[in-house]
Symmetry: C2
């Protein structure tokens, strides 16, 4: 329905409703600010558990037998034959690596198990990410502009001297004056990375290529070495800058859109439930959900509202 | 990665992390309870705006010129020719319907514009839904089990004597003991409808069919009239009951899954921004979002995590 098929007096009243709707959008913005405050409050409650996780991963703490008790469903369902095989495999592994410290390659494995992250991962990144010991989310202080920082904590390594690499995402929770109805909760507006102090010769974000140059006059050929950007996860820490006028070329825009999605995903899913991405449990569950919903949609309602998939609200599971 | 490729000492530590993760799920449940409290608080802030909307829709209040001022983008972009055409159409409409009260067929139009709702709509439902004047969301009181009620307010009509039809959704915000990792926010667990006091002969949820019966012995044929269920939106108020043992047949399960989705959608999208579904603006915006994200996914990351689409958290737009 377009507005023009309505009688003038009705259209007038619809405009009044639209003005009420703008007021709703501003109230909604306040709601999301309060949710953000709640998230900050709960971040403090989660932190002791995340710190313990980190201590176990990096072998700073050995959990007690009681802390390690787990009645896994999978094991119950295994046949004796499978159990035997598993036991043999375990013993083999135990022999191979006599005394592993903590949980080796914990975060690297998480990265490899999550498509969104593994897509960024290059072979040369892997030896570096073996030294990643924790990812923390830090929220901006109350009263400050809404933002969060991802902190990547590394053990001392041969690749760079930083112990922490950071990526900060600035957010905005207010309706756009020119398009208030598109408001649907806080949006990431921009991000900043950090300088990585690479050890000489270890910078995987650059590569040297050899190029032949022909002298225009003499026709002689010489080989020059050029340094060019190289694909790497660590480019995550040097995102494209948004110029003052806010206009970006298409490439940078696509890079940033993907970057915002990754930043959000690390904050919202990876950090809160890393172990489930390590074991793959989070990934399996997601697939299950997906299939179920797909089937229901087919059987019951035909095409779902496109909106359903992009709903960015606080959104209880139905 | 399955757990069996890990050395025993490492697997033990992973179990410790999983136990920490269960604790996180219980903290998360508390978070969602607090978000629910916030939603209750904000419902009270939105209510005066929704009440005014209702008053305008049902002609209980005529908005002032100031309240009706709206500088629509669409109009600016129109060519003179289109404007002329629109003006003529408007004049024609004005002549057709001399003095429309409020915004006629406001909620019926919303229903027609939203696929999820229009799929339920039958032709015989439309004359009834013309009398729908408001949909309100009422949250359960603090300290009570988490639930919400959709109230459908009707003006006096020839179809039933109720002025309000209700549908209540009971929710749960706690991890399932047997599968704590699947917890992802409050879930709708069950729903109850209400009795509609149909005027004689007006019950659109039933139809009479004529059936020919042949007498086994005599071979004579008689025609009997049978009352059977009829497709109607108003079946929404008599959802399948969940038996005490919690087990449902496949049909009822599918009906309830669709029902929960619709209830959630009415609460979360339709009631808060009804005017945008009336004008179609909410629907267009959603499509825009969808296309954009689709493109980005194709260009930048290939397949997205299935999880992204099913993320049921409070989920800032990225």
């Amino acid at each position: 329905m377009d507005g023009f098929s309505l009688p003038k007096v009705v259209k007038r009243r619809v405009n009044a409703l639209k003005n009420l709707q703008v007021k709703c959008a501003h109230i909604e913005a306040k709601f999301y600010e309060e949710v953000h405050e709640l998230e900050r409050k709960y971040a403090a409650l989660y932190q002791p558990l995340f710190d313990k996780r980190s201590d176990i991963v990096k072998a700073a703490y050995e959990p007690t037998d009681e802390e390690c008790e787990w009645k896994a469903d999978e094991e119950e369902e295994l046949t004796d034959e499978m159990k035997e095989k598993a036991k043999l495999e375990e013993e083999k592994k135990d022999e191979e690596k006599e005394d592993p410290k903590g949980i080796p390659e914990f975060w690297l494995t998480v990265f490899k198990n999550v498509d969104l992250l593994s897509d960024m991962l290059q072979e040369h990144d892997e030896p570096i990410l073996k030294h990643l010991q924790d990812i923390k989310v830090k929220f901006s202080d109350p009263g400050q502009p809404m933002s969060f920082t991802l902190e990547f904590h590394f053990e001392p390594n041969d690749f760079f001297t930083n112990t922490v690499l950071t990526k900060t995402y600035k957010m905005r929770s207010e309706p756009d004056e020119s398009d208030p109805f598109s408001f649907d909760g806080p949006e990431i507006m921009s991000c900043t990375g950090c300088t990585i102090d690479w050890t000489k010769g270890k910078n995987v974000t650059l590569k040297t290529i050899k190029k032949k140059q022909k002298h225009k006059g003499r026709g002689t050929v010489r080989t020059v070495t050029k340094t060019v950007p190289n694909d790497s996860f660590f480019n995550f820490f040097t995102p494209p800058e948004v110029p003052e006028n806010g206009e970006l070329d298409e490439d940078s825009e696509a890079v940033l859109a993907a970057d915002f999605e990754i930043g959000h995903f690390i904050r919202e899913r990876i950090v809160p439930r890393a172990v489930l991405y390590f074991t793959g449990e989070a990934i399996e569950d997601d697939d299950d959900d997906y299939d179920e919903e797909g089937e229901e949609a087919d059987d019951e309602e035909g095409e779902e509202e496109a909106d359903e998939e992009n709903d960015a609200d606080y959104d209880p599971k139905v």
